[in-house]
Amino acid sequence: MPEWVQFSAGKHFQDLIAHLSGRSVPEILVMPIMLAVILGFICGSSLILIWAERKVAARIQNRVGPMMTGPRKLAEFSMWTGGLLQTAADAIKLLVKELIIPSKTDPVPFIAAPVLIVTVCVTAFVVIPFGPALSVSDLNIGVVHVVSISSLTVLSIVMAGWSSNSKYSLLGGLRSAAQMLSYEIPLIFALLGPILLAGGLSMQKMVLAQREYGCWFFLPSLLGFLIYYVASIAEVNRPPFDIPEAESELVAGYVSEYSGMMFAMFFLAEFANMFLVCSVAATVFLGGWLVPFMAVPEQMTPGYIALGTLVFFAKTSFLVFIMMWIRWTFPRVRPDHLMNLGWKYLFPLSLLNLLICAGVAVLKDVYKLNGWGVSLASLGALVFVLLLLQVVRVPRPTAFLEKV
């Protein structure tokens, strides 16, 4: 097993500074600097993602989207590259706007909420392996860290909803608390399958386990992948699960009363969270930075690091793109349907997934099946159970859609 992939980015950073200036960076400074780097990365990626979202929306709705702000050459090159700096301009506008705190708010939670949501997001990014040896810190509780820290997001939304002292905000906060708590459960249970297969919680170990199995985990745990993806859309409050901030009914839900930079922080966190869940999905289910059809070198090679990082971003972007596609394609789900879907379908199915993964682990460890073998076996088991469910006439997984 190539040990070098578990080096942390902080270590690289220390080595780099030592190499360049001959001085060592004290340990205590590394983490703050790394967090600042993540914050910068989040801001940058969110700017691009917001622009991308608008372009995708425009494509789906037969429009052109933002065209004016940005390099003229790009806009002339193709309508899909126009307006690249539009979000940057928007961000500057939001930065210089006045911060309005309505008079009847509860000021401390009102101000703490946007700070908390961004903090949580930055902290969660600590364990994401952007490439081989490129996670800020490869904690040995990696996946659990992401899940547990992200669970505080709902707290920020509840705080925002309550402290705004407005009924739309309150309703938005209530809905989001219910929704995010409910969908956290299938999300975690869907992740348990791959954790079982990998035999560990560290993110880099997860990637290496997929190399060892010879197949990415979305094959042996297909159901888990789908459940994780659906549940994570609900976790980041994106359409079709955007009930907490539904514009048409709740103005903007918990962000109704926010303006200026505080609004921007919520916006930033939404896109950063979207990137976060997609990068977790890419790491856990799609092999992370593993380059298809290419062995991981035994020694650290800058070329492989660059290639791996590129592959990781490609996979994550693909998942992000699908999320955008879904957003502009599906209508909003009704709240009771949402709860039904989460508790009556996704949760039991995620237990089924855990069971299948346990079987797969046995096949791999005891019967020494290779990646293709276990994938086929697990898909077979899945199809068998779903057929069985059809035969035994328990409520079908789509029954809730017909009972409108």
Binding site: I141, I149, L155, L181
Partner: protein, 165 residues
């Protein structure tokens, strides 16, 4: 050294937020302080080399239970705005001081069995091994306990007959 500093900072945070939970007039603020307290305890766990326990503390207590608590508060608007009655000050202070004296006395004179004073490295694997081997029976009984409480919760929260679905 840095661990000691972290411990004292976290303990201060936990104590201050716990105090705020008890003394805060505003229920919502009390709930938020409770979450801060939970997060502080999670920090202490991490400081004691038990990061998994810390993560679980955040996930279960701060992220789920306390948020459900706030959720409940938000649904009962009258409760949120009502000033709480405090008519048992003397009894409460008496009980608290008595308990504190007993505990401080006990802790001061406590001998801890077989402790080296160093945190034990306790990974997720050893935790899992303990659940699946030594404490298997307890683990299975927990499953029953959860099943029973799930069912009980449904019974308590059920709707009246006729308004099913």
């Amino acid at each position: 050294m840095s661990e000691a500093i972290a411990f004292y900072v976290l303990s201060g945070l936990v104590l201050a937020s716990a105090w705020s939970v008890v003394r805060n007039e505003n229920l919502f603020h009390a709930g938020l302080s409770l979450i801060l307290c939970f997060v502080g305890v999670a920090g202490i766990y991490v400081n004691l080399d038990a990061p998994f326990l810390g993560a679980m503390q955040v996930l279960i207590y701060a992220g789920a239970i306390a948020v459900l608590l706030l959720f409940g508060f938000m649904l009962t608007h009258d409760l949120m705005n009502a000033k709480q009655e405090r008519n048992q000050h003397a009894a409460g202070i008496f009980a608290a001081v008595l308990m504190a004296l007993v505990l401080i006395g006990t802790i001061a004179g406590a001998q801890w069995y077989g402790s080296s004073g160093q945190p034990v490295k306790f990974g997720v694997e050893s935790l899992a091994r303990r659940y699946m081997q030594q404490d298997l029976v307890s683990f299975e009984v927990v499953a029953l306990l959860l099943l029973a409480s799930l069912m009980g919760a449904v019974v308590i929260a059920r709707k009246e007959e006729g308004s099913r679905d």
